[in-house]
Amino acid sequence: MEILVCVRRVPDTSENEIELNPAGNDIERDELVYSINESDNYAVEEALQIVSRVGGKVTVVTVGGDDDEEILRREMAMGASHGVLISDDAFSGSDGRGIATILKAFAQKGQYDLILTGVQADDGAAQVGGMLAAMLDYPFASLVNSIEVLEGRKLKISREIEGGNKEMNEIDLPCVLSIQTGINEPRYVGMRGIRQIASVPIPTFSASDLGVDPAAVGQAATKVKRVDYFVPAVGRGAEMLHGSREEIVDKVLELVAAKGGLK
């Protein structure tokens, strides 16, 4: 099975305190730790596990710039056969629809049976996979947390729905799936593995390579534009406890006891 996994490099929100820049038009990025988007990493692992069961190859693709090569190399060190960077000044500032348009053009240059994305990235929009599927006229399923390959170019998948329930579906190939975290246990990638991949050239595709009309993507084509970032005025907010740890512990227990939280 030929599998394409669309990935993105994002600031790791679990490791970073996000601050706004003075102009409020972006976050302060200088000190941020970046990594592959968490659910994208699960998607790559899932692709690798499928290929190890039924054969085939995994290609990892991202739309971005030179800095984004590091995550392609990381996923290649996990076992992906190919890493591809799609990069062009014309792509800068694309919204979700723009990114899906670019990925569609790339997907159509190959013969992919299955296209995976992570369920959502740092903007929390959860949009590119569903848009890409609609553009390709492929079936789509979101929040996928298990995949079984069936006979006759079909998959049996489960989706994570409310209350921990699983919605079981059969879906025809080719299709697009957005992968939920927890679907598998992504393998560890050591520095040694990444070093071995360090000198492998990463092919780069531009707008003209893909036949993408620059007017259909990028900042000018967006239907959805972010005006600014802001930190919302906190309504009630927590009463922050200060002092020594001993004092804080006593205060917490006093309050918890008052709420009926101590036996």
Binding site: I18, G96, G124, N165, K225, G237, A238, I248, V256
Partner: protein, 328 residues
């Protein structure tokens, strides 16, 4: 101003709580709007759901077709493309169904898409102004959406609390004949309910709940020791289940359990809205997190910025001491 529609989720004849939230969101886009509810389905359940909506919408469009008996997003999308007038604004709840339906629908409608909207600040000409969150809820963004060719907008559950209002006295319009034959390349099979775990976190008054901040599987014991002293249970947020450190049955959130404790100790939990959606009954929330920007501090009663792995054992010891003193 384009017409505003709200796609209403229902099950067994009961309309989802999001229906009134979508009606309220529609009025925030246009206070003079009479938003139209759209429901898809089949049989008596659909009729009952349509009937219920008369109280919150002036008009409900019923789309009945046997393949729509289960809300398969691909079939619902095909039905909506046929029924919705071009250029409409469609509101959908940002839940597992909305995530499945909405992005692809926006492509097929050739309209703008903006998701997980927390607030709507108004319309200026062809622009709809909304508020979203990014970076795990650490910052918000003002976003401008071009609605000149319509829009699909998903609304964060719980973000639009409608004031109780008078009945809208709506009517039901049958649009089923617009839909025609429906078929899909994805077919619903069944819904699997998870096995009940060893501990039922929904039955406990006090929960020691752990998130990504617990860092390692071995550290789960620190939370268990505190829970044992407090007579509490240990619950968790999604990353702990993803890492396979706890069973799915211990997860609090929209894709896990809904809990109603009196006291909730959120230990190393960032406070994603999907997690908060599982905490009901307005418990006393104590949040411990090393990141002072963590969104959990916006909803907690008491906040402590500290290293969990040092704070938890000290808290456990102090509970133990107090109980020894009490026993004497």
């Amino acid at each position: 101003m384009p017409r505003i529609f709200a796609y209403i989720v229902h099950k067994d004849g009961v309309v989802d709580d999001s229906a009134t939230e979508l009606a309220f969101a529609a009025r925030k886009i246009d206070p003079s709007a009479s938003p139209v509810a759209i429901l898809t389905g089949w049989g008596a359940g659909l009729d009952a759901a349509c009937d219920t909506l008369r109280s919150s919408f002036t008009e409900a469009w019923k789309v009945a077709s046997e393949p729509l008996v289960y809300p398969n997003a691909e079939l619902v999308r095909k039905a909506l493309v046929k029924v919705l007038p071009p250029g409409s604004i469609l509101l959908v709840s940002h839940d597992h169904f909305g995530i499945d339906l909405a992005p692809g629908l926006s492509i097929k409608m050739n309209s703008a898409f903006v998701s997980d909207v927390l607030d709507i600040t108004g319309v200026e000409g062809p622009q709809l102004n909304v508020v979203r969150q990014e970076f795990g809820g650490q910052v918000s963004a003002h976003v401008r959406c071009d609605i000149s060719s319509g829009a699909v907008v998903t609304i964060r559950p719980g973000a639009f609390k409608a004031p109780a209002g008078a009945s809208a006295g709506g009517s039901v319009v049958d649009k089923s004949s617009d839909v025609g034959v429906l078929s899909a390349k994805r077919r619903y099979l069944e819904t699997l309910v998870p096995e009940v775990g060893d501990v039922d976190i929904t039955k406990h008054n006090v929960l020691v709940s752990i998130g990504r901040g617990i860092q390692e599987e071995d550290n789960v014991a620190l939370a268990q020791e505190l829970a044992d002293e407090l007579g509490a249970a240990v619950s968790c947020s999604r990353p702990v289940v993803d890492a396979k450190w706890m069973e799915k049955s211990r997860q609090v959130g929209s894709s896990g359990k809904t809990v109603k404790p009196k006291v909730y100790l959120a230990c190393g939990i960032s406070g994603a809205f999907q997690h908060l959606a599982g905490i009901k009954g307005n418990p006393f929330i104590v949040a411990i997190n090393k990141n002072p920007k963590a969104p959990i501090f916006q909803v907690a009663d008491i906040g402590i910025v500290d290293d969990l792995l040092e704070f938890l054992p000290q808290l456990t010891n102090r509970v133990r001491e107090m109980r020894c003193v009490a026993a004497k």
